[in-house]
Amino acid sequence: MGTNQSTGIDERLQALLIEALQVPPELVTPDLQFGDLPQWDSMGHMEVMILLESTFGVEINTDTIADLTSSSTIREYLKENGHV
């Protein structure tokens, strides 16, 4: 499952965060979390969630919105849902 199996989850997640937050690649570090960048505010967070849903097909609800607040938790969530 996934949009591009030839690319690893880390690269795909980084691309997703760059697109959702509209920031240069060097700002998206593996330990980035909500609030670290001005762009990852409430609206930025929802952009991340919406893109997660459309790119990976995972369900986004109020629990996931509250839980997936860092690059590492998103990575783990994607792995748990079959994305490697």
Partner: protein, 399 residues
């Protein structure tokens, strides 16, 4: 031709069914679709919209209205994330003695006088009742050792821009301006300014660029006063009362939905735990007071009235993080509830945007408990009636 006959009714089937939980929200935003709209109603099932127009539109305008209505529906309802509904207290079934609509009697008694849409003068009984509630809210503030502040009615445009207010709530803004400093402009205004049924007519180019607005909230002023510096001692509790202004178009009605209203707030600034713990303590203390006076109400999750562009995302975010709870008091005469106050947590939004820092350098968290004074009085009067003889003894004795 009577006024009623001049109205045109436009029925619209939304592109997608509006979820029941969003019917009121969508209905209130339809007020801003077109200046012809005099009233808007979304059916309870969410599959039909009825607009009552002040005048008959030509075909092009009707098509534009239809298109904008669909835009509102799609923006607010499509792909919406179901909110997490949490009820912290439910005392709506508490018996209250009054069932009628108090508004007609209050108007007849001279206790409510409407100056224009959403703007009211209040008489002595309602004023004393509001002062009673004010005392209780001040007592709450005292239990936290809150320090008093006074804030202005005006707020600079650049302040609201800094916290993205123009993007989130453009529909409810109230602007302040003045005549340009030019003798000819002032003379022309003095000669020509005159009101008709639509408002004040003035010469073109009379007004200067807008620098200030009427303030939409009390606590913002505190955050701006604390901006761009470390928070002394790392925590602060403040109380203040202030006039607030939120333009609500055709939705303005009685004391339920005013353009100019008053809020008493207790505001917490500090660490996440400091703000969240105090918000919860405030809720528990207010529950005890509401029980003493026998108010029927519920405390439940809520969202701020974001405009359509940010509505879906911001409300989902607020719900996910349980940022807002409203105190919704029973209005027995219409079998509904009215928000009379709220318990709010802003995370570190203001701390980050305004650079308010804690001793460890991290952005401060903020929250507030806010009480709408006129709405609190109205809910009380709706439950106990306008005659003070029928009020709970704890209220009568305090007055």
């Amino acid at each position: 031709m009577s006024e009623l006959e001049q109205h045109t009714v436009l029925k619209i089937t939304p592109q997608l069914d509006i979820p029941t939980r969003l019917v009121d929200e969508v209905q209130s935003r339809l007020a801003y679709v077109d200046e012809y709209i005099d009233s808007a109603e979304v059916s309870a099932s969410g599959d039909s919209i009825t607009l009552r127009l002040r005048r008959s539109p030509d075909q092009a305008r009707e098509e534009r209205i239809q298109e904008k209505v669909q835009r509102v529906v799609v923006s607010m309802a499509k792909g919406g994330i179901k909110p997490k509904v949490q009820i912290l207290e439910d005392h709506l079934q508490r018996p209250t003695p009054y069932l009628d609509d108090p508004n007609a009697e209050l108007i007849a008694l001279g206790e409510i006088h409407q100056e224009t849409d959403g703007v009211f003068t209040l008489g002595p009984t309602v004023t004393r009742l509001i002062e009673f509630f004010e005392t209780q809210f001040l007592n709450l503030a005292d239990t936290f050792g809150a320090v008093p502040y006074r804030f202005p009615t005006l707020i600079p445009a650049k302040y609201l821009e800094r916290v993205n207010y123009f993007r989130a709530f453009p529909h409810s803004l109230s602007f302040v301006t003045h005549l340009r400093e030019d003798l000819d402009v002032i003379d022309d205004f003095a000669k020509q300014a005159a009101c008709d049924e639509h408002g004040l007519n003035t010469p073109d180019s009379s007004f200067d660029k807008i620098q200030t607005l009427l303030s939409p909230a009390v606590c913002y002023h505190l955050y701006f006063a604390l901006a761009d510096k470390p928070l002394p001692n790392g925590e602060l509790t403040v109380t203040a009362v202030g006039n607030c202004f939120r333009y609500e178009s055709i939705n303005m009605a009685s004391l339920e939905r005013m353009w100019n209203f008053t809020m008493r707030e207790v505001i917490f600034v500090g660490s996440k735990d400091f703000v969240l713990n105090n918000r919860e303590i405030a809720r528990q203390r207010m529950a005890s007071f509401f029980e003493d006076i026998g108010l029927a109400y519920r405390v439940e999750t809520a969202n701020d009235p974001f405009f359509i562009g940010e509505f879906r995302k911001q409300t989902a975010f607020q719900s996910a993080f349980q940022l807002k709870y409203e105190i919704r008091a029973s209005l027995p005469y219409k079998n509904s509830t009215l928000a009379i106050g709220s318990y709010n947590y802003h995370q570190d939004f203001f701390g980050r945007h305004l650079d308010i820092t804690l001793p460890d350098g991290s952005p401060a968290h903020t929250g507030c408990v806010a009480f709408g004074l006129e709405r609190t009085a109205l809910a009380f009067l709706a439950q106990f009636g306008p005659d003070p003889n029928n009020w709970p003894s704890v209220v009568k004795e305090a007055l």
